[in-house]
């Protein structure tokens, strides 16, 4: 979307430091691309892909940007994303934004890169940069990771500070890395993790942070004696046959290394996951819907974010919606105005109609979802015949099942394992309970070693310009 005009100057400084024998650590001199909803000081902008925030100045770098710069990483620029992190249109072309254009899948440029962190995942997959940063509310790291053949880590909400990140949900939002190897992703996580007084989620009681996530990276021998739960009901049973074939071969290899894979279920599968296997954050009555929590939180959080900006007429959520109406040609405010924004800005309109009220319905939904996705979700599935499993393992290309840890605020890790009948990537996912990123990194790196290299992009249909992209 844009590159950092100071990148080469910063590189020069870091070269000089190195000449003097100084290293700031493993990220010293490593270029990194950042999703455009994470605030960077001028000369770089932060717009969530929207023209409405062009020229707006953030009061400070986001917490994680400061951490990266202090560690010697070079913020090379901002990546294309689904505009406003998929918060504006129920149906949109994933990876499309007015300012960034269409992000495309590097395996087939006519196809969906998933969102909303598509550009960050694609830049790593296409060997533009070694590592990048994405954000997730529900599926925005997991989806781009598995469909673009890269590693993605979605940390527990509260491991990485959201301060300075254009928000969706204070309950669910989290920041995480993309990389081509588990170890590289863990190295980045080690830098961006941390307690920040500007984000309450990082100061909660019981928060557990590992000193070095990278040190958990290991080889396939770690699979000996491991016990994994394959989540079946409304999860594995709904995956495509050619995807399952790849997974079965992998599972057999995992077993031959001495690990056990048992079938488990989320007890809440029938209430929290759709019967037809589709992703849906408006499932059930209003006081049980994920979107109830998101819409109630997004309004106030967005207004707080906008209130700190200068050099922009956009001060409130309503200003964004009005900007889109005033610029219908590029911003697609109504269904049919723009192929990138198929249903216009219907989610934004719902958010404004709700008005940020945290009433009984909101609290009921929040409590209900927590219980269903933590106690009766990930935690229950991790308990097998009275004993704790080492992790849950999933094939979840429809991104339905990761809705459970997304709503729970629990960590997930995703790694590429093969390609399907159409030559598109397949990734598997591992889930654990909160603060157990270390365990996920250990097991995922063992499986990565077993797989022995990720499928690399083919750049098929490279002249494609279709919007929306194909997503069947």
């Amino acid at each position: 979307m844009e590159v950092n005009p100071r990148a080469l100057d910063i590189a020069k400084t870091l070269d000089r430091e190195r000449e003097r024998g100084k290293s700031r650590g493993p990220l010293h001199g490593i270029p990194i691309l950042i999703k455009d909803n994470i605030a960077t000081l001028p000369p770089m902008q932060t717009t969530a892909g929207s023209w409405s925030l062009l020229g707006a100045i953030s009061p400070r770098n986001a917490f994680i940007i400061q951490k990266l710069e202090d560690a010697g990483a070079i913020v090379l620029g901002k990546t294309g994303m689904s505009e406003w992190a998929s918060l504006r249109s129920r149906w949109h072309s994933d990876g499309y934004s007015a300012r960034g254009g269409q992000v495309r899948n590097p395996f087939d440029l006519s196809r969906n890169p998933y969102g909303s962190s598509g550009g960050s995942a694609v830049s790593v997959s296409a060997n533009v940069v070694p590592v990048s940063i994405g954000t997730e509310t529900d599926g925005s790291i997991s989806g781009p990771a598995v469909i673009n053949s890269v590693v993605g880590i979605k940390p527990t909400t509260g491991i990485t500070s959201r301060a300075g990140v254009i928000p969706s949900s204070t309950t669910q939002d989290t920041i995480g890395p993309f990389a081509r190897t588990i170890k590289d992703a863990a190295i980045v996580l080690d830098v961006i993790k941390g307690v920040d007084r500007r984000d309450n989620a990082t100061t909660v009681k019981g928060r557990k942070e590992e000193k070095s996530y990278a040190s958990f990276a290991t080889g396939k021998k770690a699979l000996k004696g491991a016990k994994l739960g394959l989540v079946t009901k409304r999860c594995y049973e709904y995956q495509k046959p050619d995807h399952k074939l790849v997974a079965e071969v992998l599972f057999a290899k995992i077993r031959s290394e001495g690990a056990e894979i048992v079938n488990v279920d989320f007890p809440s599968a029938e209430t929290r996951l759709r019967e037809d296997g589709w992703w849906d954050w408006e499932l059930g009555p209003v006081d049980q819907q994920e979107f109830t929590v998101v819409k109630a939180e997004a309004y106030g959080a967005m207004n707080d974010y906008l209130s700190e900006l200068t050099n922009t007429p956009i001060k409130t959520f309503e200003d964004i919606v009005q900007f889109n109406k005033d610029n219908a040609g590029t911003e697609g405010p109504n269904p049919g105005d723009h192929p990138g924004f198929i249903t216009g800005q219907d989610l934004f309109e719902d958010i404004i109609a709700w008005g940020g009220v945290k009433n009984e319905t909101y609290w009921k939904a929040k409590e209900y979802i927590r219980h269903q996705t933590q106690d009766l979700g990930v935690d229950a599935a991790l308990t097998y015949r009275g004993k704790k499993l080492d992790a849950l393992i999933l094939l979840d290309m429809s991104l339905t099942c990761q809705q459970i840890p997304a709503q729970a605020g629990y960590p997930t890790i995703h790694l590429p394992v093969g390609i399907d009948d159409r030559g598109m990537p397949i990734g598997i996912s591992l889930f654990q309970t909160k603060w157990e990123e270390g365990e996920l990194i250990r097991l995922a790196s063992a499986i990565e070693d077993l797989v022995g290299g990720r499928p690399k992009p083919k750049f098929n249909s490279f002249l494609s310009k279709n919007i929306p992209t194909k997503s069947d």
């Binding site: 001199g29 090379l76 495309r104 533009v128």
Partner: protein, 106 residues
Amino acid sequence: MAKITLRGVLALASLLPLVLAASRDPHVDYRNSIPAPFRNPTLNGVVLEEVTIDQLQSYFKKGTFTIQQYVSYCLERIQAVSSRDRTSLARIAVLISARPIHISSP
């Protein structure tokens, strides 16, 4: 001394494609399989596809290339794969005339 039989020769010959396949460089195979504008160039003779952080640190340390050189490389890579640039006529011409390339081993 073992007798050389026809069956033995045939068995050995049947292994030949496997031996040949194993001797080919998967990196060259991959490069030749993708459209030319998307191929990662080498930097000071180093293949950078799938490069890891540890490998980059070792290249910086050895002086194989500087941080500045690598940052320039990444900036050029952004231009090469960015959608707007790729539609330029020059790039498409390169693409159409592109033939498989051969890299000699270092």
